[in-house]
Symmetry: D2
Subunit: 358 residues, 4 copies
């Protein structure tokens, strides 16, 4: 199997932003849970072009300073914005700060990478997308799973057409989870699956309904189910859950010709393609329409999935997009689509599962 | 582990019908897919008190005649009804005929066992329940899974209170299925899970919504999701699917103290109890209500599940209930509750997932 | 995938025995644990040409008589031998009786099918093989697994050469077992695996050693390990065990190009082919021989295995061989090879694992 | 469940060496594959008392120097020996250098930790053990698995007696492996399992035989099977393999009362205890000794295994033993027993599986 190379991700994508051409210089904003991972990967990808890090917490800053002796560390975000030697910033702060920080960075002429989800509301995401396009800057969201070898392989298989028409997608992402005080299980876990499905389909569902329950006495949902209707018979369903005694990461993509299962917890056979399905034949028998359905069980094929750190590929892709001006595969519009679904799911849950349009 | 004995199923249940005391004589109606299994099991349980079988199709009747030389076989249902030596009938015909056949049998003074689902509509089920009670006859529905050792063990664990409060039930029953021309996947597969949940909880949900998609061009749903709200934070979710490339039979019962998983495809560890969960503590910190949530991962325990044919236990239970007049654990009211949910789910699917009351 | 048809099993095999041409008439000897399965399958394959059954135990005979009303049942083996209308007998009696019964049947001019293992000693097996060849009669051993679709598929893959050279075969067949009073775990379980390996390789190992332990105080081994050396770097290893708390049926066939795993307990993916392995390159570097070894991890492919009862195919194959005179794929010589290994393993165990020649 | 604390490992063990009392100062010798892991863990356990590192390769030394700015790095082993401020050294160099380096360190008055296997020969190991005892210094071997929470739990269960008498141990450690140019698969993989079994049983087998095959054309075994006879009906069997297409880490400990399975690849249920087994009853029936064997299948229990880095515990244990003078649980004698088995296995393989005494 051929590992998709970085350039393949952007080929056939025309530049939409000003590319500096040379390796861009990057600053990382936020050194909490995820920021150090970004630092490590940008350090691996661009070395000393990782110029600066920023966090208000001196303890976090000091930890990074020890590990990366040459790296400039600051607690002052404005100093990063004012530094003309920095072309782009990667924002790994709490979701409610994504919009003000990303907006300020775009206004200061920087390209921007934002952790998922892009923003806390559709309105915020729309403003960022519009601003980035107007200013000719790259706006990318870190939908990390899109850069994992397994999901890329899944995309390759779906795009090849071998599954036939896709009939349904069923995704389960459950475990005994880290309860969040601020966001519910939908905003915490669903962005992973929604970003994967967005990568596969590249479009919004026509409508959706969602259903959830809060169990910690704080009104924050710890279990939720989302039903997305993409029209034409294609539905997608998501189960996200912080209360499951077992961990499951399992996605079925059911097609008319073949079906695919993505099990992220299977160390070896993460992707399996099942050559089984149904064939529907229509017949008119004695003036009565009949449907004859044949079943077919066939071989199972599990393509080799190379080992590759998704975050490394993600960082390299951002760097390349900033350098060339080409649009990222997880651009602001992809981030916006995911936020649209999250916001709509939230509305539906509060409306007891009523159907809404994202 | 002690295997639940037949009498335990009815202990503490007062007679509601006229019990004949002695072993009842039974006739089986319908010798298609399921009927021969009933014949085999009633033959094992009551021997020659299995008196007669009935099917209009002479080929089917002949096959049974060969295998059970002494058994009376007829194509005439009325002859069964008129035979005073027959105390009870077991009906294994297509669902749309359940109501007329069961009604006729009850009116003829027979006790009645009906295959699941009890009837094709709530109205029909209500009429049968009312009629059986008025006539003092046993009306039982063959919710076979309720008689499986694994489900009984699950019931025993839930009733023991060791799970704490039940927070959610999540059930998946999917496979590359046998498309039916007449019923959709909800009526085909969900009765199994709904009867299990009814056995565990013994009550109807307050409301439900359902979501499905038809793929064979015939308007008959081949995938469906049901969300049941039982109030008090307890939700149940069902995924039934005829298009899955893999077979999954998996139910999670999540509790505040422990959780349980029932995997019917695991030959050895069908039931696992996970001593893990969350503990919510409420604190007032600086006038601001905070929720502190502790995680606990603990031992896993899988009780031994004896091997026992559920249908054998079901047949024995019916026979015992007819003999003693005690109400079956899967009585007409249990059958009615399941039909209520099926019918409501159908309404919700047609209303695009709108919330309905069963 | 194409299901191997019966005739494929014998194509290119020249007749070695007198074939009657028409459907042979068969008698089944022994109605204990396995005999009724033979009756059921011969009945399905040849119907009324299954002529007679024989067992000295009247209870067993009566049970068969009830189930197969037209079948002649006798307690007298000699009556079967004397019946000229019977062309062939299938012997399903305790192993120590295989030799005298099969010998008598061959002498009486019958073709013979014998349950595995063929006999209790090499000497007995040699006599039967020689006698069958001299008399021109079919002698077949019921190595049932050889007729299972999974093992046939395994054979097809091995014969295709896609695995490259076979380097090792590792087989595990363990469970909490039925202790036998007369035979040890080697004679009970190993014939299954040895017959499979004999089918794949078609030859005896050059030498073997075996190692076992008896635990029930009766000197009968309940655990054993067999090491077979086929020469040329090909080794095979077998673990058979009656004391394992879990059931495992797992065979690895490791090749230079690809490897194959046969997991008989996997309902769906019984056979998996792994496109992974090593490549050895020899280089002379600075007058020093070096071995450069490359690793390759690749796709996994699991061919669809049709559902088919192995015993049905086995019965059909015996019938066909008797009719045509062609040699069975599990002929007396295959049975003899398996008995040679069993007997040698027994010697090695008693000699504390000393290396012996089968 | 209570996590075993460090002090529990040495309680009831009387000092055998001179303990310095205060935190010992440690140097790490060898910065190749494993050395950096030791550096990281000693750094975590004793901070600045990790005084120095040594490797002749300047590249490796430089990498560690960057990561641990304050740490003294040298290419000169003798400088470490001459440094009186260093109390103990941890040796992570190729196995053939273990003996000379450890011997020199002991002679220089240092306590010594050596990577597994302790030495390349029994003679070397015996000399080190004798020397350490004579000099009153701690000699410990890094049998890392002994310090894993799963193996400690296994030891706790075995010691509790709940398994009854142990009848057999069957261990499989196979994968597509890293071929070594110098050591075969026995010396590479078996030390892990042998050190676990030594921890459980604490004694040598009476005899053993081994069987292997070399496949890379270099005479170095890539597959091997070891049979150990501990007497009294207790046998242990090991399968180590570099050519397996799948990775398996699976150990069964079969007992008369219960059995245990340790599956190191199961993320959640690494240890399972099966309440199943056999009961042998002896009876004299008609002057004939009969053995009645009852089977019992029962519950399965999987104790929670805490997450804890084994190497961290190992480093802490070494430090504690040096400080207190108490003998390590993986002392030189444990290391010697493992080397005895490795050397004997090698002899047996070369003698075609002949039985040898370790």
């Amino acid at each position: 199997m051929k590992v998709p190379k970085q350039q393949e991700l952007t080929k056939d994508r025309k530049p939409v932003a000003q590319g500096g051409g040379s390796t861009p210089r990057v600053g990382v904003i936020g050194l909490g849970y995820w920021g150090p991972n970004l630092v490590r990967n940008f350090n691996a990808v661009i070395g000393e072009n990782l110029r600066a890090c920023c966090d208000r917490d001196p303890t976090r800053a000091a930890a990074i300073a020890r590990a990366y002796p040459g790296l400039k560390i600051t607690g002052d975000f404005d100093a990063i914005l004012a530094d003309d030697s920095i072309d782009a910033v990667a924002i790994a702060t709490p979701v409610e700060t994504h919009h003000p920080l990303a907006k300020a960075a775009l206004l200061a002429g920087k390209s921007v990478l934002v952790e998922k989800p892009l923003t806390a509301s559709v309105e915020q995401a729309e403003e960022l997308v519009e601003l980035a396009e107007r200013r000719g800057k790259v706006l990318m969201v870190d939908h990390t799973f899109v850069f994992s070898p397994a999901v890329r392989k899944m995309k390759e298989i779906v795009d090849s057409g071998q599954l036939g028409d896709i009939l349904f997608i069923d995704s389960v992402r459950i475990n005994l989870g880290l309860f969040q005080h601020d966001v519910n299980v939908v905003w915490d876990l669903a962005p992973h699956d929604l970003s994967i499905i967005d990568y596969l389909l590249g479009r919004l569902p026509l409508s959706l309904s969602a259903f959830g329950a809060a169990h910690a006495g704080n009104g924050i949902e710890s279990i939720a189910y989302l039903n997305l209707d993409f029209g034409g018979g294609l539905i997608a369903h998501f189960h996200v859950n912080w209360l499951s005694p077992v961990k499951i990461r399992h996605t079925i993509v059911g097609g008319t010709a073949k079906s695919l299962i993505y099990n992220d917890l299977d160390a070896v056979e993460k992707i399996k393609v099942y050559d089984s399905g149904i064939t529907v034949r229509h017949e008119d028998v004695e003036d009565r329409r009949r449907y004859l359905i044949d079943y077919r069980a066939g071989d199972v094929w599990s393509p080799h999935i190379p080992t590759q750190e998704p975050l490394r590929s993600m960082a390299a892709h951002f760097v390349e997009c900033v350098a060339t001006g080409r649009p990222p595969i997880t651009d602001g519009r992809a981030g916006l689509r995911v936020v649209r679904i999250l916001e709509a799911a939230q509305r539906s849950i509060k409306a007891q599962g009523g159907r809404v349009t994202p």
